[in-house]
């Protein structure tokens, strides 16, 4: 049975097969990089939109001061700050 395959003539592959494989892999690498960058950009845009829609959640000076005012009644040491 081994003779069968021994006798089988195998045509040579295209001479550029190796470079074709390497080029395809590098092309996929770039595609992966762009897809990753695009996904990151989309996430960033969504995060900005969410934050803009809820201004009260932002850490602003105003919000911090209102927190201090709240705590002012409970803890004496904030008094000096306000």
């Amino acid at each position: 049975m081994k003779n069968i395959y021994d006798k089988l003539e195998i045509p040579e592959p295209n001479t550029d097969l190796e470079s074709r494989i390497i080029t395809a892999a590098m092309h996929n690498k770039r595609k992966y990089f762009f897809a990753q960058s695009a996904a990151l950009a989309v996430c960033l845009v969504i995060a900005i939109m969410v934050l803009q829609a809820q201004p009260s959640s932002l850490v602003t000076e105003e919000n911090m001061l209102s927190d201090i005012d709240f705590y002012d009644d409970q803890y004496g040491f904030y008094k000096e700050i306000s």
Binding site: M1, I4, D6, E9, I10, K29
Partner: protein
């Protein structure tokens, strides 16, 4: 870099080393093209299968687990399975050579018969024959590569031999 083993290159591939990938491709393309060809019996398909197999290890190098198998054994399995799973309808290849003398003519007839015989059996049976009789792998290893049990492999081999005998008769 060229003196590194396949296993070392695979480790480098996990950190996306293009150079390691390139060395693996240059080192193994020719051998695995022949493996794929013996299963699919079609040049372009065999080339595509080798390309797919290499792209698979480039995209997911973590699929290889060094504790389970050597790189070549594992990659052999990938190529064989891709070749078996290839659902494309193979084109009929015309063996069209210019025949100049009787010896060549005889050789051509033999090639045609051989090609016809191998083509007449299902891909899975061809892969089993290639692994056991050509690559001389142990039945247990061949069964593992094909993802089947030893009894199923024996059955594949037996059916393949019967079918080949019929065609060659």
């Amino acid at each position: 870099m060229l003196d590194k083993t396949d296993e070392e290159l695979m480790e480098m591939l996990k950190s996306r080393s293009a150079q390691a990938f390139s060395i693996l491709v240059k080192r193994h393309t020719s051998y695995f093209y022949k493996v794929a060809y013996r299963v699919v019996l079609e040049r372009e398909t065999a080339e595509d299968i080798v390309q797919k197999a290499f792209l698979k290890i480039w995209e997911k190098p973590n699929l290889w687990q060094p504790s389970k198998a050597k790189f070549k054994t594992w990659f052999y399995r990938i190529v064989c399975n891709l070749a078996i799973d290839d659902k494309r309808k193979f084109k009929t290849v015309e063996l069209n050579f210019d025949v100049e003398d009787t010896h060549e003519e005889q050789n051509l007839d033999e090639q045609k018969l051989l090609y016809k015989a191998l083509k007449s059996i299902p891909t899975r049976q061809r892969a089993a024959i290639m692994l056991v009789y050509f690559e001389e792998k142990k039945q247990a290893d061949a069964a593992k590569i094909l993802g089947i049990g030893i009894k199923a492999l024996e059955s594949l081999l037996s059916r393949a031999k019967d079918a080949l005998r019929e065609v060659v008769k």
